[in-house]
Subunit: 506 residues, 2 copies
Amino acid sequence: MPAILNSSLFILHHHHPLFSTAVLSLRRHYHHLNISLFSPSRTTTLRAYSTSSSSLSIQSSANPNVRTGRSGSVTSPPIEHDTSQKIDVNPPKGTRDFPPEDMRLRNWLFHHFREVSRQFGFEEVDFPVLESEALYIRKAGEEIRDQLYCFEDRGNRRVALRPELTPSLARLVIQKGKSVSLPLKWFAIGQCWRYERMTRGRRREHYQWNMDIIGVSDVTAEAELISSIITFFKRIGLTTSDVGFKVSSRKVLQEVLRCYSVPENMFGRVCIIIDKIGKIPMDDIRKDLQSADMSEVAIEELLQVLSLKSLEKLEEKLGASGEALSDLKQLFSLAERYGYSEWLQFDASIVRGLAYYTGIVFEGFDREGKLRAICGGGRYDRLLSTFGGDDLPACGFGFGDAVIVELLKERGLLPELGLQVENIVCSLDQELQGAASAVATILREKGQSVDLVLENKPLKWVFKRAARINTRRLILVGKAEWQKGMVSVKTLSTGEQLEIKLDELE
Amino acid sequence: MPAILNSSLFILHHHHPLFSTAVLSLRRHYHHLNISLFSPSRTTTLRAYSTSSSSLSIQSSANPNVRTGRSGSVTSPPIEHDTSQKIDVNPPKGTRDFPPEDMRLRNWLFHHFREVSRQFGFEEVDFPVLESEALYIRKAGEEIRDQLYCFEDRGNRRVALRPELTPSLARLVIQKGKSVSLPLKWFAIGQCWRYERMTRGRRREHYQWNMDIIGVSDVTAEAELISSIITFFKRIGLTTSDVGFKVSSRKVLQEVLRCYSVPENMFGRVCIIIDKIGKIPMDDIRKDLQSADMSEVAIEELLQVLSLKSLEKLEEKLGASGEALSDLKQLFSLAERYGYSEWLQFDASIVRGLAYYTGIVFEGFDREGKLRAICGGGRYDRLLSTFGGDDLPACGFGFGDAVIVELLKERGLLPELGLQVENIVCSLDQELQGAASAVATILREKGQSVDLVLENKPLKWVFKRAARINTRRLILVGKAEWQKGMVSVKTLSTGEQLEIKLDELE
């Protein structure tokens, strides 16, 4: 089904609270269509599409920007193909192309991810986007597991497009064994996939920035990770009035469950159920908790603890001696020394949706409360042994490329990122095309960027292109100057034009 | 099957000419094992592996570097998992992890790809790694088609991991339609996949740098593309004595086929057959050509033309009037003006393995003739119409990350790329951990990179780590200095140590 069909799904569900986000995201996607997908007159047309065949192309009368038909070239040899078949020109459902303007934004974001990681002394790593499915089979009813983008390959192996990076990281850490010195500080920026129904305007792929510290059991590691995310927020112009962190520890839950003798092997499952609070009805939450061996009274106590928003209240409830409290107190004390305590708040309801967290958990949120979590992470000291390795203390976070872009858009903080080529070089005469190549080469060898005009074009066209690519200088190769070993150099901002000798060209 | 099993395949086939490359590549992959995979005593062990189950882990007595067993953490909550199951710690067969040292090399390579593209005024784009299978269904018996890494997804759609980037680019160009100004100069660096038997030491994924020019019919476009690859070669230290380009035009074949009235729709198929010369026996080539409606005499004439290595001989054969000759002459003339003619040679046997090329084709080769093609490209003026779009003149190339790394390794040109963190900050007292965080933050806010020691460690350990991460300065936070608002700053190259006030720390 071509991606454009999604829009009809969105239209059917426009009462959904995520509708405005979906529209924004679609607008960005289809801005090149230069039509409003959501005007009433279009709605009917788009709906009609969804009943068409799956080979339907965007190339229809509804899109004035796509040319139809073909212009046969007389001289080119033919290539064998069934030309009656039109392909869908959209990327597969839930995926994105990155045309230059979107790629510039992605590169800008990744640049800041990398720069922050570098400042914190982290080394970049990566893993295959296609992993063995076994890496993601966990038994706790996680959303991420239900949405696994999995296949059988041609050798009948069960494989999956990675839904997250942490299991691959754990695999590599076990493989490296004692050959690496701890602590490891690793970061990665990778595409992750999930297969979910497309009614919520969420894509099936996103890029995720991960930072992980392996080998530090102290809360200093979590404090360092949160500091790096805040450094990132500041770099891109966000302040504590835009975003903040909610922090808790899974040890809070663990202490409650112990009090009520809930079996330890139910822990992961209980966490996943709790993470669904606010997403599914409370009655279902209670039922799920009961099926996880929790008594009525334990459930009530648990829900009460989850509502706590201050460490003082938590201390009243759990006493001062537990690890949950001492970890959290240490984190808040470190936050003060780092200088970011105003970004942080305790919220016992935060558990995060992955089964493997064991200690501190945190998530970044927008203060207006409009968007999903911006990022999230925590401690996962027991993940390696689930893969058959020796456990090592570990913590990390994932930071996607979707919500942050929505937030920057809302705050008007998206950067202006135009193409910028330093020079445009153009011959004034077909015969001088080779000469223009030589001039381009001279400038490139000096490190400069050059757009070389490759066909004979009128000067008006050249000026238009120069403006589009933000060129600083126009270099014209004309007969008279060339015979003197010179070219005309026009500085476009001032209009100043000089004849310069080739060997003086900088 | 875990990747390590491949080694037993390689051992069984060590008479294969690619064996040395395979060993090199495996050595690089498994250098962290710190054992020789190919010493006689190991061979038996590794062979034995191949009879084991697919869940076999590298974690066995054969690998002394991977720890076995688990160290239970007393305080961490358990996560629910069947711990008896060991995962395979290798990436899926034919794929790679990128631990820090490999990632640094990948980033170095990509940096040069990007810098060259920028100097030539190209804009970066990207496409989904998962595309609709329909995008790659061509009918010319290409190797790339036979090795499509394809699946059926959970919605019963036929999808494929992209084997190349050009079809996605063509799809996006059609989608953008008239909203873009021509010529487009686009580049991309993306992972591509092929599913092939693993006996030849080739991987199933590689990264490919593509540069494409859409909208220029003149050979100036091909000349510009070749110039950019040569600029890349020079940047990374390769000269014309290491590498060169073989150039031809598919119009040469077209002219021969026309002479012998071979149907035009056989063109793509004939090109693909010819591309297999040297890879399969000549008898099979002849048979395949016969089945493509070619007479005995046409086949002999074709094979004779393919053996030509100079434009003069080609002109004798085809006459001076054809497009094949005029295109090639123009390319060699431009090469002279660009200053790279010594890198270029005409070789009529070059046709390239993709069905869609229509004009000039070229490939980069190593002069010692040991390796496969380093890169390849050409003109594909008819690709868009095969997807139902309007044709636009187009040319481009693909440049993989595998052969170039082998070549640099052979020439001793691989760069030394160590981790380098500017500062290491360490508290001398557990109580001063927060103070050390504050010091790290000050330096990071000034743009510096800092490895913060997160646990109380002996100074000997700190010096060892400082050496490992190539630190310039060690900053110690001790009680006496801290009370004066100062820290100790030790320049590690000189051993010089100074007490510096916090607000004077640069």
